[in-house]
Structures are given as structure tokens and as C-alpha cells.
């Protein structure tokens, strides 16, 4: 049986103390799991990932990592902060905000150096990660001179060099061309095979289907609508319709019209 690595108990969070982002979330993620948090825009996926990375703190409920409660107070302890940060990595949805170092190489070295890994080891990690992500030619470039796909690879690389056990990925394939999307899916598979726990926030149903993840479906009321295997949830069109992950679509073919449910996933399902 897999060891539980992340557990959320009744977690809620509101922005500006008024705007609810997530309400009463209970979920448990096992070591090595591929876990997807899916839902429509604004349902609280990114907020949930930020709570799981200890970047913001839940207003109610508890969050445990490997049985240790993670809170603002707990992360003030230097020992626990180091323990938590070297084990949980977060790839932001907007790579622009994640890339804050002068060059790509500096970006890849930032995390390992923070973890007090020796410079030689850190450099070795950076070059190995650049090789697997195929970004060796970008090493001296500043982040604002990269394309969207390149930024995403560098952002992922900047977390991989820290070798975290858990990778929190916020909309990893959003806005990427099909080839880069395909590359990322293969990489996620490989990382999962290597024993990493993947937690992905997305509304890309094809990605969820490709990775065969466990799914937590968030409703527009910011609550968990259903937990289950990807196959079970993706096959329930009524459920997906109710949380706005698919929509009804009308076609006009000359005088004839017909209506059907539509999403990128259903369209390309194979």
C-alpha cells in the first residue's frame, strides 16, 4: 500500500477575506501518485496548489505533508522549511513570474544553491536537466528572450534541479504548441516512472486521460464535486457538463442544425 504523502482536511481559503477560492477540501495523495485537480476557470485549482506548496495558508482546515502539519508557524522552523522545500516543487502557471534570475543557467542553479548543494553537483544537475529538456542552447539567455514553450521548459527545469519528491504543476500544457505539449506529457510519464508524485491542476481533459491520473473534480462552488479514477470521471458527461468542463455546441449545416456536447478531449478522444 502506498504511503500517504499529502493530506488536506477541511481546507478553505478566501481572497481578501471575502472572495471564496476553495471550500472545505478533503483529499489524500499517495507517494508516486499521478493526481489531477480539474475544474473550470476560477474554481480554485491554483489556490489549492499554492496551499500545498505552503505559499499561502488556509483560513480553515489542516494540511499535512508526510504526516507533519504544514502551517505558517511550522514553516518558520528552519529545519522543517528545508525538509518541505526540498521535497515539494511547484511549477507556476505563468512561467514569466517564476523566472526571475538573470539567465537560464542561473535559474536552474537557484534552487540547488538554496538547498546548499555544492556548486559542482548543482552545475552537474543543471546541465543534466538542460539536456533532458533540450534547452542547452538557451543557457546564457535571459528569460524575457525565450518563447512560451522555452519558458515552460526552463520553469520546469528550475524545479527539477531541486529533485523534489512531489511536483505541483499548474496548467502545465496551457498555451503550448502540440509538440511541446507532447514532450511535456512524455516527461511527466518518465518522472512518474522515476517515482515522483505528480499533482497537476488543469482543465485539459486530454492530459488527464493521457496520464491516467486520479482525479479531484472541483465545482464552480469551489468544492470537491467528485473524487475518482480518470476513466470514471471523464466518462461521466453529465458531471463534466455540470462543472462547465464540457459545453453544448450548436452546428449550422445549411438549413439543418444539430447540437452536441463538445470539448477538445471528446473531439480528439482515441
Amino acid at each position: 500500500m502506498k504511503e500517504e504523502i499529502i493530506r488536506l482536511e477541511g481546507v478553505s481559503y478566501s481572497y481578501h477575506d471575502h472572495v471564496p477560492a476553495v471550500c472545505d477540501i478533503d483529499l489524500a495523495i499517495g507517494e508516486g501518485d499521478k493526481y489531477a485537480i480539474i475544474g473550470a476557470n476560477g474554481c480554485g485549482k491554483s489556490t489549492l496548489l499554492q496551499i500545498m506548496n505552503g505559499l499561502i495558508y488556509q483560513s480553515r482546515g489542516k494540511f499535512f505533508f508526510r504526516g507533519h502539519e504544514v502551517s505558517e508557524q511550522a514553516l518558520r522552523d528552519k529545519g522543517f522549511l528545508r525538509f518541505f522545500r526540498e521535497r515539494v516543487g511547484y511549477v507556476f502557471q505563468d512561467s514569466d513570474v517564476q523566472l526571475f534570475c538573470p539567465t537560464v543557467l542561473d535559474e536552474l542553479l537557484y534552487g540547488p544553491l538554496q538547498l546548499e548543494i555544492g556548486k559542482e553537483e548543482a552545475l552537474a544537475r543543471a546541465f543534466q536537466v538542460m539536456e533532458i529538456l533540450k534547452i542547452e542552447n538557451l543557457k546564457d539567455r535571459p528569460s524575457y528572450m525565450l518563447s512560451g514553450g522555452e519558458k515552460k521548459r526552463v520553469a520546469l527545469g528550475s524545479v527539477l534541479t531541486m529533485n523534489p519528491e512531489v511536483l505541483l504543476l499548474d496548467e502545465p500544457t496551457n498555451g503550448l504548441d502540440p509538440r511541446t505539449q507532447c514532450f511535456l506529457v512524455e516527461l511527466m510519464f518518465a518522472l512518474s516512472e522515476a517515482g515522483k508524485t505528480l499533482v497537476i491542476a488543469t482543465h485539459d481533459l486530454a492530459l488527464v486521460d493521457d496520464l491516467h491520473t486520479t482525479v479531484a473534480l472541483l465545482s464552480e462552488a469551489h468544492r470537491i464535486e467528485k473524487l475518482g479514477a480518470a476513466d470514471d470521471i471523464l466518462s461521466d458527461e453529465e458531471l463534466l457538463l455540470s462543472v462547465n468542463l464540457v459545453h453544448e455546441h450548436t452546428h449550422y449545416n445549411g438549413p439543418a442544425t444539430h447540437k452536441h456536447r463538445h470539448s477538445h478531449y471528446f473531439f480528439h478522444k482515441h
Binding site: D77, L81, S143, L160, E165, E193
Partner: protein, 308 residues
């Protein structure tokens, strides 16, 4: 792909417990600064929320409110009497109560700013070597007067009645001006203010700068906050103040570069939608009876304060 995974990514941490007793992290100035920046976004949200409520002053047309703002700030600046200033303050307090604003939060900011930019700035002028008059509180007594260049420092140094009167007046003026501004800002949305200024024939260039600056502050605050979170997610220990300052200096350049690129994109988006250096507004209705009534009432109250 699986065979390409570097060996270091296959290694796992030895233990699932952490080393205790390594000490506690202190909140650095950078963390506090970012929290203040985040407060900008929160303040913007709170202002928008209070301005869209269905209360007394919120319902009044923005043109009346902008004229009220200008008229009352002129009155506050002209009055030379503490009682009149105190009465204006009381009138504004009642208006805030009627509009159901968060009195505690607003007055905390107003009094803090009035203390810094009113009281502390004016306090030195209360001493007898700047404002002559009757000393009410002696601070220092010297054996004989001192002569410094063209200035004569008297033997007895203290706060004068006339000087203190001036300090209280200036503090009240600053507090009242702030109260009027915060009151209008918290009862009128930014877009309504811009519309009102446009109707009052303020130059388009000025309004454009005002609108873009307002938007820029939020974009800048959001970007800085997100970047701080991204850094925080990869930080595993205490950063000393020197390193934090270096980081800030380096990242400021990066943020400005990114912001410049974002601004160019925004300007292109404006151009492609037909922008030609003119602000076009819509949805400006006629003043209603309620607006005229409020306008006349404020004018009469203002005239009364001027007459006092």
C-alpha cells in the same frame, strides 16, 4: 524518455523526518514590503466593493462627488479656525457613518498619515525660535542666548501657544483633506471618477496617464507578489538582508523590463482597437433629483463653513 532521466532524479531523501532545533526564521524587510504591496491589491478590492454598495453617498453621481471633493478641500485650506476645522471633520465623519464605510480602517490610515505629514512635519515650527509667542512647555533652558549666523536662539527653548495652534491647524487640515479624499475614493469607483473628470473637461492626456498608472500599480503589485511567491517556493532557509537587497535590486530591473514589454503589448492592443489619443466615454446620464439635492446641500453646508 524514461531512460533519459538523470540519475540524481531517481534518488530519494533518506529520511521523512527533519532536523529540529535549527532555529526560527525571522520575517525580513523584503517579506514585509511584499505584504504591503499585496495590501495595494486588497485596498483596491475593498475600495471597489465599498464603492459599489447601495448606500447614501454611493448612489450620488460622480460629478457631484468630484465637485464636492474640490470644493471642500478648498474650504479646508482656507479656514484658519480650529473649531471650523473640527466641525468639518465631524461632518465628514457623519457622512462616512451614513455611507456605512469601515470607520476604524479608514480613520486608522487617515490619522496615521495626518500624524506623519501634518503633526510631525509641522512640530518644529511650534518652538519659540521659529514661532515667537508665549511659551507653554519649556524643553531646554540655557545659561545665555546663542547667536548662530543670522539666527538668535533664546536661552529658554520651548513650545509656544501660537506655534501649537499652527501645528494643530495644519494637522487638522491634513486629516480633513485626507478624510475627504478617502471618503470619495471609497464611495466612487475609479471608472466613475475618470468619467466625471472627463465631463469636467480635464485634459485627455492627464486622464490617460491617470488610468494607465492606476492599472500599472495593480499589474506591478501582482507581478512583484507572484515573483516573490515563486522565489519563496524555492527558498529553503533564511536570506540575510544584504542578499535580500541584492535580489531586490536585480529583480527590479527584470520587473521593469517585463513591464515595459507588457506596456508595449497593451499600447498595441489599444491601437488595434482604434485608439487615437482621445478618451471616449459612455453611459453618462443626466443628473437626477437626488444628485441636485445632494449638490445643493453640500454647497449650503460648504457656504456655512466658509461663513463661520
Amino acid at each position: 524518455m524514461a531512460s533519459d532521466i538523470p540519475p540524481f532524479l531517481l534518488t530519494k531523501p533518506a529520511a521523512h523526518t527533519y532536523e529540529r532545533g535549527r532555529g526560527k526564521l525571522k520575517t525580513t524587510f523584503i517579506e514585509k514590503g511584499i505584504h504591503h504591496l499585496a495590501e495595494v491589491i486588497r485596498t483596491g478590492y475593498v475600495q471597489w466593493e465599498t464603492a459599489t454598495r447601495d448606500n447614501f453617498f454611493q448612489k450620488i453621481d460622480a460629478r457631484v462627488k468630484v465637485l464636492f471633493l474640490i470644493f471642500f478641500i478648498i474650504i479646508v485650506s482656507l479656514k484658519k479656525d480650529i473649531l471650523a476645522e473640527a466641525l468639518i471633520g465631524a461632518f465628514l465623519f457623519i457622512l462616512m457613518l451614513v455611507s456605512r464605510l469601515n470607520i476604524f480602517r479608514l480613520y486608522k490610515r487617515i490619522l496615521f498619515l495626518a500624524f506623519i505629514f501634518g503633526f510631525l512635519v509641522a512640530l518644529p515650527s511650534a518652538f519659540n525660535f521659529i514661532t515667537r509667542g508665549e511659551i507653554v512647555l519649556t524643553v531646554l533652558r540655557m545659561p545665555k542666548p546663542l547667536s548662530l549666523w543670522i539666527y538668535m536662539i533664546p536661552a529658554e527653548i520651548g513650545l509656544t501657544r501660537e506655534g501649537l495652534y499652527g501645528v494643530i491647524m495644519l494637522t487638522l487640515r491634513v486629516a480633513n483633506s485626507l478624510a475627504i479624499s478617502f471618503f470619495v475614493l471609497n464611495t466612487t469607483t475609479f471608472t466613475e471618477i475618470i468619467k466625471a473628470l472627463k465631463i469636467l473637461r480635464i485634459a485627455d492626456g492627464f486622464l490617460m496617464i491617470l488610468t494607465l498608472s492606476y492599472k500599472y500599480i495593480f499589474i506591478f503589485a501582482r507581478m512583484a507578489e507572484d515573483m516573490h511567491l515563486a522565489k519563496k517556493s524555492r527558498l529553503a532557509g533564511q536570506v540575510n538582508n544584504t542578499d535580500a537587497r541584492r535580489w531586490i535590486a536585480g529583480r527590479m530591473a527584470l520587473i521593469f523590463k517585463k513591464t515595459q514589454l507588457r506596456c508595449e503589448d497593451i499600447f498595441k492592443a489599444m491601437l488595434c482597437r482604434g485608439f487615437s489619443n482621445r478618451i471616449m466615454i459612455y453611459g453618462v446620464g443626466k443628473l437626477q433629483a437626488r444628485d441636485w439635492l445632494a449638490g445643493v446641500t453640500f454647497s449650503l453646508v460648504g457656504a456655512l463653513f466658509l461663513w463661520m
